[in-house]
C-alpha cells in the first residue's frame, strides 16, 4: 500500500478512486523505462492526431510553387506533389487509421475472449464448435479475402471496415485464450471455487479472466497493430475508398504518383510509414509495462 | 580443535544480497570448522540462509550477492591453505569440484533433459580439463562407473539413459555421483532428500552413509528436515535468520538443546515411534532479512524473551564442552528442557 497512501484522501469519491488508480498505474508504468517510453510515444501520437486536427485546416492548402520540397522551417517534413505540407497531412491522417485499428482490435479481442473462455471452460460440444469456427476462419488467406470482400461490399464507413477486419482477426487470440483457460481451470483455486459451488459465471469472470488481463491487454495492442497494417494495406490497394487524408492514402498517392521513383519525395513517402512504425514501436515497448499494471503483487507494493 | 585436522574453517562470514528493497542479510557472522571426515548438518527454516552459505563455500553465489566480510580457509590435499574469499578465477575453477562439490537443492531438474547421463559426466570433466586433462575416454568411463557404483546405481543401464528415463531418486543419485567425479574432499548437499518419497529417501540416506563411513568424505548437509540430521550428522548447527544460534554434537542438539529455537524445532516434529505426543509449533514467522529485529533476532517468537533480549544480540558462548549457543537465558532453557525431559519426550524415553 505504500505507493498509494498519499492518494488515500481522495478515496472517498468515485472520481478520486479513478484518479488514484490512474496515478498508481502511471507509477507502475514508470517502473519499466522502456515500457514507459512506449506509453509516452503512444499517448503523444494519439493526442496529436486526435486533437491536432481540431486546430488545423481540414484541407491542407495546395501550393504548386512548392512541389516536393525538402524539409525546411516552414515545412518541417517537406511537401508533396501538390506542394501540400507533409507534416500537416501526417497529423490529419492519423485519426482514421488509429480509429479503425482500435475499433477492429476491440471487436476481434472481444470475440476471442468470449469464445475462448467459454469454450475452454465449458468444454464439450461448445468448445469443439468454436474451435472449428476458428480453424475455418484461420485457413482462409486473410488479406486476399479482405481485398475481395472490400471490393464486393463497397466499404465506405470506418465502422464497416473495422468490423470486417475484426471479424477476420480473432481466431489466433481465441486459441491462445482457450489454451490459457484450459491451464487456469486446472488451478487449485478454481477447483476450490467449484467445491464451494460458486457457479460458472463467477469462476470464469471473477477467478479466471482477471488472471489473463495483462495477457489480453498485450494482445489487444498487437491486434491494434495488425489491424492498422490491414487498413493501410487495403487503402494502399485502393480498396477502401476513404476520401479523407490518411496514412494509407498518403502511401497510396505517393505510389500512384510515382513518388517512390523520385529522390526528392523521400520525405513524403517515408513520413506516414515512419508514423506507423513509430506508433507500433511505442505499442510494443508499452507492452513491457502492461503485465505489471495487472499484477497485484506489483500494484499493491510488497 | 586439537587432535583433528580441519579441512574447512569459516570465520565471521557475512553475505548479503543487493535487492531493490535493500540489502538482504542472508548470512551473518557465521563461524565453524569441519573435520576432514566429519559430517555437519545445518538445520533451520526456509530462508534462514542455508543455501546461501553452501553456495559461498563453492563460490557460486549469484551476481547480486557479495561477501561483505569474513574468511573461508580451506586446507587442500596438498596441505596448502586457501582463503576462498580471495581466490582468483583460475584457482577457483580447480578448487570448485576437486576440493568441494555441491549437490544442489532441486537437483531433480538440474540435469539437461536432452543429454545422456554419460555426456553429463563428460561435460563436468571437460569443464575442469585444464587441471584434469587426463579424464577422457576410457579413464572417464571408468571413473564415472566407479562413482555410479558408489551411489548404488547400475552404470551399464544409467550411463546410456536420458534423465527422464530415471526416477527422481535415481536422478538425485546421479547428481551425487557427478559431484564425486573429481574426487572432492568435501561434499555439500542442499536438501538431498526433500521432495522424495520415504523409500527413495531411505536409499539416498544409505548411499550418503556409505560415502561417509566407507569413503570418509567430509560432508555438509543443508536441510530443514531434522531427521536427516539425526540420521547422518556428527555435528549439527541450528541456523536462524542467517546466523548459527546453536552448534554441537548431534546428541547434544537433539537431547540437550540450550537454545529456545532448537527446542522449538524439536517440539514441532512428530516421531512415528512411541505414543501420542504433545507437539507445538513456534509462533510467528521468520523475520524479514532486510529489516531485522533489534537484539536477539529470535525475540519476537521466543517464549523466554526479556528486555535484555530485545536490546542486545547474544554472542555464541560455550554451554557444554563442544557445544555453543547464542542465548542469554540458555541455563533456564536447559533446566526447563531437562526437567520435562523423560516424561514428555519420547525421544528421551526411547533412549532410556
Amino acid at each position: 500500500m505504500a505507493a498509494t497512501t498519499g492518494e488515500s484522501r481522495y478515496r472517498d469519491s468515485a472520481v478520486g478512486r479513478v484518479l488514484a488508480w490512474f496515478i498508481s498505474t502511471l507509477k507502475l508504468m514508470a517502473r519499466n523505462r522502456v515500457g514507459f517510453a512506449g506509453f509516452l510515444v503512444v499517448s503523444t501520437i494519439v493526442l496529436v492526431t486526435f486533437i491536432g486536427p481540431v486546430f488545423l485546416p481540414s484541407e491542407v492548402p495546395v501550393n504548386v510553387n512548392e512541389i516536393y520540397e525538402t524539409p525546411s522551417l516552414s515545412h518541417p517534413l517537406g511537401t508533396d506533389s501538390e506542394g501540400k505540407d507533409v507534416l500537416l497531412q501526417v497529423i490529419n491522417g492519423g485519426r482514421p487509421i488509429l480509429t479503425i485499428g482500435f475499433l477492429a482490435a476491440a471487436i476481434s479481442t472481444t470475440i476471442a475472449v468470449t469464445l475462448g473462455s467459454l469454450g475452454g471452460f465449458v468444454g464439450g460440444r461448445v468448445d469443439t464448435g468454436f474451435t472449428w469456427l476458428a480453424d475455418m476462419v484461420l485457413t482462409i488467406p486473410q488479406l486476399p479475402l479482405l481485398a475481395v470482400l472490400a471490393g464486393i461490399l463497397r466499404l465506405n464507413s470506418k465502422i464497416a471496415v473495422a468490423g470486417l477486419i475484426g471479424l477476420l482477426f480473432w481466431p489466433t487470440l481465441m486459441r491462445a485464450i482457450r489454451a490459457q483457460v484450459l491451464s487456469l481451470k486446472e488451478r487449485d483455486y478454481v477447483e476450490s471455487a467449484r467445491a464451494l459451488g460458486l457457479g460458472t459465471p463467477h469462476i470464469v469472470f471473477r477467478e479466471i479472466a482477471p488472471n489473463m488481463a495483462g495477457y489480453i491487454a498485450i494482445n489487444f495492442t498487437l491486434a491494434v497493430t495488425s489491424s492498422m497494417y490491414a487498413v493501410v494495406g487495403l487503402t494502399l490497394l485502393g480498396l477502401v475508398p476513404l476520401s479523407e487524408e490518411n496514412w494509407g492514402v498518403m502511401i497510396n498517392l505517393a505510389w500512384t504518383r510515382g513518388a517512390i521513383f523520385s529522390k526528392d519525395s523521400v520525405f513524403y513517402i517515408m513520413s506516414p510509414i515512419a508514423a506507423i512504425a513509430l506508433f507500433q514501436l511505442g505499442l510494443v515497448a508499452m507492452n513491457r509495462s502492461l503485465s505489471e499494471i495487472f499484477d497485484p503483487r506489483l500494484r499493491r507494493g510488497a | 580443535m586439537e587432535g583433528r585436522a580441519d579441512v574447512l574453517s569459516v570465520r565471521e562470514l557475512e553475505i548479503g544480497y543487493e535487492t531493490g528493497r535493500g540489502l538482504v542479510r542472508a548470512v551473518r557472522g557465521v563461524s565453524f570448522d569441519l573435520g576432514d571426515d566429519e559430517s555437519l548438518a545445518f538445520i533451520g527454516e526456509s530462508g534462514s540462509g542455508k543455501t546461501t552459505l553452501g553456495l559461498s563455500l563453492v563460490r557460486l553465489l549469484p551476481q547480486n550477492a557479495s561477501i561483505a566480510k569474513g574468511e573461508i580457509a580451506f586446507r587442500a590435499a596438498s596441505e596448502e591453505v586457501l582463503d576462498l574469499t580471495t581466490l582468483d578465477d583460475e584457482d577457483l575453477r580447480r578448487f570448485r569440484w576437486e576440493e568441494c562439490a555441491m549437490v544442489f537443492q532441486s537437483a531433480l531438474n538440474a540435469l539437461n533433459p536432452v543429454m545422456r547421463i554419460r555426456d553429463h559426466f563428460a561435460d563436468t570433466a571437460k569443464d575442469h580439463s585444464e587441471t584434469n586433462g587426463s579424464l577422457k575416454g576410457r579413464a572417464l568411463t571408468e571413473r564415472a562407473t566407479e562413482c555410479l557404483e558408489m551411489v548404488q546405481l547400475d552404470p551399464g543401464r544409467v550411463l546410456g539413459s536420458f534423465p527422464h528415463e530415471l526416477s527422481g531418486g535415481m536422478r538425485q543419485r546421479v547428481m551425487i555421483a557427478l559431484g564425486l567425479l573429481l574426487n572432492p574432499r568435501v561434499l555439500i548437499l542442499d536438501e538431498p532428500t526433500t521432495a522424495l518419497d520415504v523409500l527413495t529417501q531411505r536409499a539416498i540416506i544409505e548411499v550418503l552413509r556409505t560415502l561417509k563411513v566407507e569413503h570418509r568424505f567430509a560432508m555438509i548437509f543443508v536441510s530443514h528436515d531434522l531427521s536427516l540430521a539425526a540420521e547422518l550428522a556428527d555435528r549439527v548447527a541450528t541456523t536462524y535468520a542467517g546466523r548459527i544460534v546453536e552448534l554441537g554434537e548431534v546428541e547434544q542438539i537433539f537431547y540437550h538443546p540450550r537454545h529456545p529455537y532448537t527446542v522449538g524445532l524439536l517440539d514441532a516434529v512428530p516421531t512415528l515411534a512411541g505414543g501420542q505426543q504433545e507437539l507445538s509449533s513456534i509462533p510467528g514467522s521468520p523475520p524479514d532479512l532486510i529489516d531485522l529485529p533489534t537484539g536477539c533476532k529470535f525475540h519476537p517468537r521466543c517464549p523466554y524473551a526479556t528486555d535484555k533480549c530485545r536490546e542486545e544480540d547474544p554472542p555464541l558462548i560455550e554451554v557444554a564442552p563442544a557445544q555453543t549457543a547464542a542465548c542469554w537465558h540458555w541455563e533456564k532453557v536447559g533446566s526447563d528442557w531437562e526437567a520435562r525431559g523423560g516424561e514428555i519426550h519420547e525421544r528421551d524415553a526411547n533412549r532410556a
Binding site: 488451478r187 487449485d188 483455486y189 477447483e191 476450490s192 471455487a193 467449484r194 467445491a195 464451494l196 459451488g197 460458486l198 463467477h202 471473477r206 477467478e207 482477471p210 488472471n211 497485484p296 503483487r297 499493491r300 | 527454516e45 526456509s46 526416477s167 531418486g169 532428500t193 518419497d197 520415504v198 523409500l199 527413495t200 529417501q201 531411505r202 540416506i205 530443514h224 528436515d225 531427521s227 536427516l228 539425526a230 540420521e231 548431534v250 546428541e251 537433539f254 522449538g264 524445532l265 524439536l266 514441532a268 516434529v269 512428530p270 516421531t271 512415528l272 515411534a273 501420542q276 505426543q277 507437539l279 507445538s280 509449533s281 513456534i282 509462533p283 514467522s285 521468520p286 525421544r347 533412549r351
Partner: protein
C-alpha cells in the same frame, strides 16, 4: 453434530486412453462416518489425490460409486446436491496455487458467503470474516482482511484456504497434503488447528499425507489407509497399524522412515526391499503389485492372483497380502489358484 457418512464403493479412476491408459485408482472402498478421520498415506503417484478428489465429488469415478448417505452423488436431487456441495470441501497442497493471486482475503472469503446468502448484512459479513480468521488462528483479523496471497507466508495462506472451506460450514474436509509445503516450524500449528476443527466443530477428515509420522499425529484416534499403485493395501486403526503393521509394504515404509531422534533412527530395524524401483502403472506386475519389491515374496503364491484388500481381516483392520493371511491363520481367504501355484512352486524348489 448430525452428519452424513461418505462412502467410496469399489471406486476406480483411469486416465489417458488406449495403450497409454492407466488406472490411477483401482477398486478402492471405504466409509467415513461423521466426525471421523481417515488418513491416506503412500508414495507419490499412488493415487491419493485422485481418491481425495473423487471423495470430494470433484472427479467422477470411471467405475464404482461415491455415496453421500445412501445415495450416489450424481443421482442426488438438486437440493441435496447443493447440500453435498457445501458439506464437502477440499484443501490443497500447494499454498502458492490454492489462492487466486488477484483476490484479497476479504474477496476470497466473502464470495461463498454472498453466493449462498450465508450472511444477511454487511456488518454480519464483517463479523463472520473476523470470526473465520480467528478460528484459523489469523489474529488480529484486521491485519489480514486486506492482504493479498503474495503478502502471506505459506502457513498463513494455508490457513486462509481452511477459512475459505469453513465459510460454508462443511461436515467433511478432504485435506490433500495440507502441510507438506509449509515450513517445519509452522506445520504442527496448522495440524493442531485442523485437529481443533475436528474436536470443536465435529468436522470429519480425509487427510492425505506421504508422512506416516504426520498421519499418526493427526489421526491418533482415527484410521490410516496405506495405498500402493492405486490400491488400498492396508487399512486399520492408527495405533494398531503403526505398532503392528500387517502388510509388508507398510512395514517397509515404517522401517524406512527417518526419525528426528539420532539413537532411535540409527538403531532402527531396517527391512530391505528386493528392488528399489516402483513399477509403472502402465505395466503392472501380475499377482500382488508389490511382489517385485516385497521382502516376503513367495513364488506362486504372490504372483498368481491379486490379493483383495480384505485378504486379511482382523476386526477393523484389513490388509491385502496372502503371506500375512496364511501366517495369521486365514488361509481360507486365499484363492485356490494361488494356493495351488504356491504349493507347486514349493515342490519344485524342494
Amino acid at each position: 453434530m448430525s452428519g452424513t457418512p461418505i462412502e467410496l464403493e469399489h471406486a476406480s479412476r483411469s486416465y489417458g486412453s488406449g495403450s497409454q491408459q492407466v488406472r490411477a485408482v483401482d477398486d478402492v472402498s471405504f466409509t467415513i462416518e461423521p466426525g471421523q478421520t481417515l488418513c491416506l498415506v503412500g508414495e507419490s503417484g499412488c493415487g491419493k489425490s485422485t481418491t481425495g478428489r473423487m471423495t470430494a465429488g470433484l472427479l467422477e469415478p470411471s467405475q464404482g460409486r461415491v455415496l453421500y448417505g445412501e445415495k450416489e452423488i450424481d443421482a442426488l436431487p438438486d437440493a441435496e446436491k447443493r447440500r453435498f456441495r457445501q458439506a464437502v470441501q477440499i484443501i490443497h497442497q500447494d499454498p502458492y496455487a490454492s489462492l487466486n493471486p488477484i483476490r484479497n482475503v476479504t474477496q476470497i472469503l466473502s464470495a461463498p458467503l454472498r453466493r449462498h446468502k450465508l450472511t444477511k448484512s454487511r456488518s454480519e459479513l464483517q463479523n463472520r470474516l473476523r470470526e473465520l480468521l480467528e478460528t484459523v488462528g489469523l489474529t488480529p483479523p484486521e491485519e489480514f482482511l486486506k492482504k493479498y496471497p503474495h503478502q502471506l507466508s505459506g502457513g498463513q495462506r494455508q490457513r486462509v484456504s481452511v477459512a475459505r472451506a469453513l465459510t460454508v460450514d462443511p461436515e467433511f474436509i478432504v485435506a490433500d497434503e495440507p502441510v507438506s509445503m509449509v515450513d517445519v516450524s509452522m506445520r504442527i500449528g496448522l495440524l493442531n488447528m485442523l485437529l481443533g476443527l475436528q474436536k470443536d466443530l465435529g468436522v470429519a477428515f480425509l487427510f492425505i499425507t506421504h508422512d506416516l509420522a504426520v498421519a499418526k499425529h493427526f489421526s491418533w484416534e482415527g484410521r490410516i489407509g496405506v495405498m500402493y499403485l492405486g490400491r488400498m493395501v492396508e487399512l486399520g486403526p492408527t495405533q494398531k497399524l503403526v505398532r503392528e503393521p500387517v502388510h509388508p509394504y507398510t512395514r517397509a515404509l515404517i522401517s524406512a522412515l527417518p526419525e528426528a531422534d539420532p539413537e532411535l533412527t540409527r538403531n532402527k530395524e531396517r527391512l530391505s526391499l528386493r528392488s528399489p524401483d516402483i513399477p509403472s502403472l502402465l505395466d503392472l506386475p501380475a499377482g500382488c503389485p508389490f511382489h517385485p519389491r516385497c521382502p516376503m515374496y513367495e513364488e506362486g503364491l504372490c504372483d498368481t492372483d491379486r490379493p483383495a484388500e480384505d485378504a486379511v481381516i482382523l476386526e477393523e483392520h484389513l490388509a491385502a497380502c496372502y503371506v500375512a493371511a496364511r501366517e495369521l491363520g486365514q488361509e481360507d481367504r486365499i484363492p485356490e489358484s494361488s494356493r495351488a501355484a504356491g504349493a507347486e512352486a514349493a515342490r519344485r524348489t524342494a
